[in-house]
């Protein structure tokens, strides 16, 4: 470990390639926290957005007109506003309207902190797209299949869970994968409200150590690795779901 630190210190002195994250403990800690935050934020948002997407898509097929209109409004709102604007809106505007809680030092602070708003904002943003993605899958399930399920005595909910969804999921999987990859990249926006994710950590480091170029490379490569891992998992999942003779 010491040898590696020495190597990177030498690299900085001799070749002006200053990768402080490999030898400076403060910067290293910052970077690792950034990596952890990005992965945590991505994972939580992926799960939340899929769950919300499934619920939303089911509600889109509801009998009640009000429920359907509600879902439609949600989708349009979150799909047609930039995620950075949503984030700033939540953090700077909505946050102050909510009740405050004690900050443990005798003061008050808003109920939801910056990381909380990032989770909420990105989950809702991605969920709006996921609803539409699931709808595309659901509409691709042949009407005759649904009727067959009904004829076999499935209730509406049971038909949705056991027949429509499994088929729909396979159809919309590529589109869902795209949206999730996008979601992970969107987490960098949390930087604007001071959530210590990767871009924030990198910007902290480069503005102090002035190694912008090096940190840009580090950032790019780190994101490629994170997203390659996600794509690999999605790919395996898609293959595991494959039904011979159904879809491609």
């Amino acid at each position: 470990m010491q040898g590696m630190a020495d190597f990177f210190r030498w690299l900085a002195d001799a070749h002006h390639i200053n990768l402080t994250i490999f030898y400076d403990s403060v910067d290293q800690k910052r970077f690792l926290l950034g990596l952890y935050t990005t992965i945590w934020l991505s994972a939580v948002c992926i799960v939340m957005s899929i769950l919300l997407g499934l619920v939303g898509a089911a509600m889109q097929g509801a009998r009640s007109r009000i429920v359907r209109a509600g879902v439609q409004g949600f989708v349009q709102f979150f799909r047609n506003t930039p995620p950075l604007v949503q984030l700033a809106f939540f953090y700077f505007a909505v946050s102050t309207l909510l009740p405050t809680v004690s900050d443990g030092h005798g003061g008050r602070m808003p109920m939801i902190n910056n990381t909380g708003w990032a989770v909420i904002s990105f989950s809702l943003f991605a969920a709006a797209f996921n609803i539409e993605i699931f709808r595309s899958g659901i509409e691709a399930v042949p009407r005759s299949t649904v009727e067959a399920a009904e004829a076999l005595g499935y209730s509406r909910t049971k038909a949705y869970v056991y027949v429509i969804l499994p088929l729909a999921f396979r159809v919309c999987f590529p589109a869902l994968g795209n949206n999730l990859v996008n979601l992970v990249k969107t987490t960098t926006l949390a930087y604007a409200i001071g959530v210590p994710e990767l871009l924030y950590a990198a910007a902290q480091i480069w503005s102090e150590v002035l190694n912008v170029r090096e940190m840009m490379w580090v950032l790019l490569i780190t994101y490629i690795v994170i997203l390659a891992a996600l794509v690999f998992v999605l790919d395996r999942w898609e293959r595991a779901l494959r039904i011979p003779g159904y879809s491609a």
């Binding site: 900050d103 030092h105 102090e208």
Partner: protein, 273 residues
Amino acid sequence: MKRISTYLMIAIGLLASITVAAAQDTLAQIKQRGTIIVGVKNDYKPWGFLDPSGKIVGMETDLVNDIANRIGVKAELVPVTAANRMEFLQQGRIDLVVATMGDTEARRKVVGMIEPNYYAGATNVLAPKSANLKKWEDLKDRKVCAVQGAYYNRRVSQLYSPEMVVFPSVPDALNALQGGNCVAFLFDDTLIVSTLAGGDSKWANYEMPLVSEDPQLWAMGVRLSDLDSPFGKLLKDISVEWHKSGKLIELEKKWGIKSSPYLQEEHKKLGGS
């Protein structure tokens, strides 16, 4: 195919001309261009901020205009932040940085700092009176808003271990402070003094509760290669002249900045009247 090769030639030609331009003496280039391009702050009252008409004004802008007048060119102001000003300078997008830049050892490796320095600032926090901060140690484990790229962020976080929430620009951080997202805003004391003195009612219940720490000289920055060029030498002479003639002290008064002992000392040292 032919068209592609033409484009390629044009691109190579452009690249070559840029490299040639960079190699030229900066002062000659500024005169030839008729403008000096300077990176300044636009969110840092009273040093560089936007007036109601959207123009950048402030003490540093006055200094920049003085430099431009002395060279006999126009000044073009480019808003920069602490995080990008040195990159802009190195890329040749700007000729000079006059943007509340602290003169630190680490930065001297990358930027040519013009001496004598034109100001000295120190670190403090802006906090609501109800936060009841008494000493720097009170910040421990509490949320402190700051702005990215400021030199004191690292020092304060290492000494007093607050939980830092760092924003891209000053208005974001001030908004977060107003929203109660942090207990204090860590910044340069001159900005805090001028914010409090501005008379804005939204700051009525705020104060600068701590003793300013870590005085830091501010410097104009040029590319390292320009430090000993005619451009760098001219700037050094101008800076000496500012101290001697008392121009800096005068501007300090004009913009309502708390009188800095550093400027008084330099004024005496350089034999001003």
